[in-house]
């Protein structure tokens, strides 16, 4: 993309083959960006169709069977093919080696292999759609999924199973890279918090994902061979499926969230021009969330045959997750306090993240409360809660990362004004789409229902309107980012005047990132106050930087 003649990872070789066989972690990150964007579009399309269908209390353009398939495919695609790989596989791949001063990930071939595994998983998922779809919900609960559903359960489960291996291998690569590839002077506590976030995420990927793999495998064996692991007719226990499923799938929420939190730490510090407040606390709270995340799965079974004692223990452990989460929010806020805050597009997304995560996280504490959860279990309240965390927070972080590192990845600047507008639009659209769902859920609207009483219609219409605005908010960046690839101004090495190794090298970087292995002598986030507003450099970059 660079047209100023310098060699970089994008123009060093050409042709499809040079991309499909690349071992460069940055190119692999771009390959993931393409794949993930594709599946995001598919998942988003299904979401919009669902919202349009829910405009009326009675079915109006799809049948109930189709409705069930649409929400399942929306969930499967968004969870396994967008949210879980999004930030780690794209930005983690691209940035973790650079941020620690390495030339590549520890296992470049494995890295490429995991992209292919991911794509195979994705196409199995699309195949499941093409061959008639699945109607079990993304959770594949037994015994419906194993014995009764007459849709493409095995194909959809195998898609998630295969995608899981991609996730495991990516996590493995991160941990080895972070342990063994750090440049001299890059001590553990000089690593950017983005890297800490990915380290914690990788732990979950390696220790959690195999459990969902074996669970889905047992489900497929039960459905395909008729063995009775979860089948009550043969003495099996369907609740066991739920336990095994959530042992991974709850920590998976933190796979979606922790890398995003790493992104937010980078952006907040940069656009407040202050060192991050409480570095150690943020780093360790990532690990704390990863560990606690493994001890809370039972809160998904408060109403499905779990002893009250177990419920109480899981309730308390779940509330404990609020502590490290709050530590992060307090530290980000304290970083901005008396900082020199500017509102570039990445910063707007980061602020949106904090607002939405606050609501999503606090309603999580409501849901951890046993008594309240009995009332709102499996209602739109839960749907709104996890969309605030997984869509509101994670997608904000994802778009924030895209806007923050886009100049580094592509060598091009995008226009600030439409970027800021779309950041505000997504925030507004999101709140309009999901705030009414808290009310709907509290009033008793169950999730996954195709029809509803007339008095809920107004709130549903609000929600659909918000989803439409959200869709536009996602569409605008797609347009100006693609536009910027061809017509955007060339990006300097460090358009945001940010700290970190990735900003010390050219945009886009060369294939091996560094000419010479860097020696790190500085603490992370060594920001030293506001930019001098008369510096020529700043004035020149003013339009992009937003000062």
């Amino acid at each position: 993309m660079s047209s100023d003649g310098t060699l970089n990872y994008l123009n060093v070789t050409h042709g499809l083959k040079s991309w499909l066989l690349t071992l460069d972690h940055k190119r692999i990150g771009i390959l993931y960006l393409i794949g993930v964007s594709m599946f995001f579009a598919v998942g988003g399309l299904f979401a919009l169709l669902l919202r349009v269908e829910l405009l009326t209390p009675e079915p109006w353009f799809i049948e109930s069977d189709t409705y069930n398939k649409f929400f399942t495919l929306h969930g499967v695609v968004m969870t396994f093919f967008f949210l879980i790989p999004s930030i780690p596989a794209i930005f983690g791949n691209f940035l973790v080696p650079i941020m620690i001063g390495a030339k590549d990930m520890a296992f470049p071939k494995l890295n490429l292999f995991s992209w292919y595994v991911y794509m195979v998983g994705g196409f199995l998922g699309v195949g499941a759609i093409a061959l008639g779809g699945v109607d079990t919900g993304w959770t594949f609960y037994t015994p419906y999924s194993s014995g009764y559903a007459s849709s493409q359960v095995i194909l959809a489960a195998s898609a998630a199973f295969v995608a899981g291996f991609s996730s495991i291998l990516t996590g493995l690569n991160f941990i080895v890279t972070i342990h063994k590839m750090r440049a001299p002077g890059m001590t553990w506590f000089r690593m950017p918090l983005f890297v800490w976030g990915h380290y914690a995420t990788a732990l979950i990927m390696i220790l959690g994902t195999p459990v969902i793999a074996v669970t889905l495998l047992l489900l497929m064996l039960e459905r395909g061979l008729g063995i009775g692991i979860f089948d009550p007719k043969l003495g099996g226990d369907p609740i066991l499926f739920q336990h095994l499923f959530w042992f991974y799938s709850h920590p998976a929420v933190y796979i979606m969230l922790l890398p995003g939190m790493g992104v937010i730490s980078e952006i907040i510090s940069c656009f407040s021009r202050k060192p991050i407040f409480g570095y150690n606390f943020i780093a360790f709270s990532s690990l704390a969330i990863a560990i606690l995340g493994f001890l809370v799965w039972g809160h998904h079974m408060f109403t499905s045959g779990q002893s009250v004692y177990t419920g109480v223990v899981f309730s308390l452990l779940t509330m404990a997750v609020a502590v490290p989460s709050a530590i992060k929010v307090f530290n980000w806020t304290a970083t901005m306090f008396k900082g020199s805050v500017s509102f570039s597009a990445p910063m707007l997304y980061a602020l949106g993240f904090i607002a939405l995560f606050l609501v999503g996280g606090l309603t999580g504490v409501f849901l951890a409360t046993l008594g309240l959860d009995i009332h709102v279990h499996d209602t739109y309240f839960v749907v709104a809660h996890f969309h605030f965390v997984m869509v509101g927070a994670t997608v904000s972080a994802y778009l924030g990362a895209l806007h923050f590192w886009w100049p580094k990845m592509t060598g091009r600047m995008y226009p600030q004004t439409p970027a800021r507008v779309s950041a505000l639009l997504t925030l507004f659209g999101f709140v309009l789409a999901f705030l009414p769902q808290f009310v709907l859920g509290y009033l008793g609207m169950p999730r996954r229902y195709h029809t509803y009483p007339d008095e809920f219609q107004l709130l549903h219409v609000f929600s659909t309107a918000g989803a439409s605005v959200l869709g536009v908010g996602f569409l605008i960046p797609a347009i100006y980012l693609v536009w910027s690839l061809f017509f955007g101004k060339l990006a300097p090495a460090n358009p945001w005047f940010a700290k970190g190794l990735e900003w010390d090298i050219q945009s886009p970087p060369t294939t091996f990132n560094f000419e010479e292995t860097p020696i790190v002598k500085e603490e992370p986030y060594a920001y030293d106050g506001p930019l001098p507003d008369n510096s020529e450099e700043v004035l020149k970059a003013g339009e992009n930087y937003g000062v």
Binding site: G101, A102, K103, D104, M105, A106, F107, P108, L110, I168, L172, N173, I175, V176, H179, K180, M181, P184, I206, L207, G208, T209, P210, V211, A213, V214, T215, L217, L218, L221, G224, L225, G226, I227, G228, I229, L234, G235, G236, D237, L240, L244, F247, K499, G500, L501, D504, F512, E515, E516, T517, P518, I519, V520, K521, E522, A526
Partner: protein
């Protein structure tokens, strides 16, 4: 953040060493990375089997008598003999690693072939064991037309035991078969002269994998076979 003038290792210094991948600084870093990567892979394998062992444990608690009855259908003698065969394969695998450390190409290939031999014996024995279960109506694969008809069906949980027996030993056998594929790859690697005393992570990691698969069996043998020795015969014991 960076003092770019001071380079610790010139980028081109190590390009003469054909054993060092471009993105590593030295052989030690490369070796340590390969070892750590393998251990992490085994950690995920541990969690994978852990899911099944966990489910096994829960049902063992739900159906102690059914588990006993199921276990008593298994042939302890054959299981024990097969355990010894597998332990022999672990020994030869360790010898292959030793040969790699000493730089003996021939030794590596010989010992891996021996390991594959013992592994094959194990799988052949497993085949006949499975066949025996088939004859006795102990296969719970109803959608394949293999109904669980054995009299032990009367004991609640016994059929479930066999779901786990086939699930767990099947998954173990699948890991062995994958191991065979990897063995072939390691042999080719060795023949190409890519295994040397200073770089033999491939053989080391192969050894770790194979020992892990053996350790899984070391747990499966008591949990599946020896369990039934612990009490009075429940029903329809064949052995």
């Amino acid at each position: 953040m960076v003092s770019s003038s001071a380079a610790v290792a010139g980028h081109d210094d190590h390009h003469h060493n054909p054993h060092l991948a471009h993105h590593f600084e030295d052989l030690q870093q490369q070796r340590e990375s390969h070892a750590l990567g393998m251990w992490l892979f085994l950690a995920q394998e541990f969690m994978f089997f852990g899911g099944m062992f966990g489910a096994y444990t829960i049902y063992r608690y739900f159906y102690p008598v059914g588990w006993m009855a199921g276990s008593q259908q298994l042939n302890v003698t054959i299981g024990a003999a097969n355990t010894v065969v597998l332990l022999c394969s672990s020994f030869t695998m360790a010898m292959a690693v030793r040969a790699a450390q000493l730089g003996s190409k021939k030794g590596v290939i010989q010992q891996i072939l021996l390991t594959m031999f013992f592994g094959s014996v194990f799988l052949v024995v497993k085949y006949f064991e499975y066949y025996e279960k088939f004859e006795h109506g102990l296969m719970p694969f109803s959608t394949l037309g293999l109904e669980f008809t054995n009299v032990v069906k009367e004991v609640p949980g016994a059929q479930l035991f066999f779901s786990f027996y086939f699930g767990m030993t099947g998954m173990h056998a699948l890991h062995m078969v994958i191991g065979f594929g990897l063995f072939v790859w390691v042999i080719i690697h060795t023949l190409q002269g890519k295994v040397t005393p200073e770089k033999h992570s491939v053989v080391e990691n192969m050894g770790l994998y194979w020992h892990f698969v053996d350790i899984v069996w070391i747990f499966l043998f008591p949990l599946l076979y020896l369990l039934g020795l612990n009490g009075e015969p429940v029903i329809g014991v064949h052995h």
